[in-house]
Symmetry: C2
Subunit: 267 residues, 2 copies
């Protein structure tokens, strides 16, 4: 598993009785060159937008991941949960398209429509289709929502929605970055080219991420320290993950100002 | 587990690594007096309408089940999947209401609205709430459908829908029973007081349930032999389970006639 990564994914893998080997992530994505040395049989990657660092897996590392899978018979699980929401770059194809035999692709409407829909899909290597179907007995996605989503796709309404939201989220991201540059230039925003959140790396001479998250909570602002996403003892960065999608439009500017007060006041 | 029972439930329990002890079922429901001798720590019951026999668990046996749970600390899992659809009798309270500490209740809209909704709920003994929440991480029910269902409940529309469907399904059931009495009096319909299906017990001198199900399949009629619901070697009855809910209204009479032809011609 990428380290850091979404802790619920790590919990799921642990609960299945598998042993987790951490794969470090930097600003170019997971360090796929280190895959071979892990001895792992499978790797979970978020190539389009790593959580929580926001890195985009570089073309070289994509090639490395595929080469590893082919050489070892390993499986790449591609978590593509917010690839549609990119701002400053051209769309990048899924890793799955590069090697459908070795990559299991997972998509969702969690970020593009709503998490509460519980709509997701897998594109599996052919020999995994039957085993996965056997495991999911009873765990189906609501039929009315599948039908509604199909209609959104076929009619083009989904694509129009994505374009509209991309504009809106880009504007929010730009406002957040501008506020940070103006009011707290000592922090470093990371992983900003896609998705609905930014990792704010903190300077060494200020309060810790945990302290800031606690002060934020008292103001009804939810921030989470990025070290929660790391396996213990693996050199976590000191930073806060800030989501900018959930606030209603009318509350965004005042929310941004409150965040600015918090971070600027803390220095 | 009740024997016979829904095979998917048995598969779920087996897949969890538990050992299954069969509890025989007769026309009065599961033989709860035999619970103590099983040494089981939990039992899955469908008191309102046993699948596939359709029995209603008698008051005496309900009391026995509760007494067993209290004496042994055992858990009763109450599958109440179609209790709303009863025809010839007064509503019977859930077993769960008799002893909320020892009964885990499971309900669903699968039969009252549609299986494709994937809406269900549990009412758990207090000490099971946290462990179950921990296990279901990520496995949520769609929020829009929860909201829509809440509106159906609060507005009274759900209760009106149930009353309307009860009338419609009772009519279908009566037509099915009348057809059977007229055209194939040698069969015995069982479990007819509730739900959306009837078990048709076959006479000894005719073709087997498997033979009839195969002939039916050639006519696009899906019937299933009840022995599929029994653990192997446990004295299965010879019969066919016939659902009468799924056919559209305009096709019901012709479907019924085709079933009559099949069963009458086979004698």
């Amino acid at each position: 598993m990428e380290d850091p990564c979404l802790w619920t994914h790590r919990n799921t893998v642990s609960a299945a009785g598998l042993r987790i080997v951490p794969l470090p992530v930097d600003d170019d994505g997971a360090r796929t060159a280190e895959l071979a040395a892990t001895g792992a049989g499978a790797v979970v990657l978020a190539p389009a937008h790593q959580f929580p660092l926001g890195s985009l897996l570089t073309p070289e590392r994509r090639t490395e991941a595929i080469a590893w899978a082919r050489a070892t018979g390993g499986l790449v699980v591609e978590d593509d949960y917010d690839a549609e929401l990119r701002y400053d770059r051209q769309p990048i194809g899924a890793l799955q398209a590069r090697d459908p035999q070795h990559v299991a692709y997972a998509g969702t409407t969690s970020k593009t429509l709503a998490p509460g829909l519980r709509l997701g899909w897998l594109v599996l290597p052919p020999d995994l289709v039957e085993p996965v179907l056997a495991l999911r007995e009873g765990a189906h996605v609501s039929a009315p929502e599948q039908i509604a989503f199909a209609e959104l796709l076929v009619s083009g309404a989904f694509e129009r929605h994505i374009r509209r939201m991309r504009t809106r989220y880009r504007r929010r991201r730009d406002q957040l970055l501008e506020m940070l540059a103006t009011r707290v230039p000592a922090v470093r925003p990371v992983g900003i080219s896609a998705g609905l959140r930014v990792l704010i790396e903190l300077p060494e001479n200020g309060p810790s991420a945990e302290e800031l998250a606690e002060r934020a909570r008292a103001l009804s602002i939810e921030l989470f320290p990025v070290d929660r996403c790391y396996l213990k003892g693996h050199g976590a960065r000191e930073g806060l993950v800030v989501g900018y999608a959930a606030l209603p439009e009318h509350a965004f500017e005042s929310g941004l100002a409150a965040l600015g007060d918090l971070l600027a006041g803390a220095r």
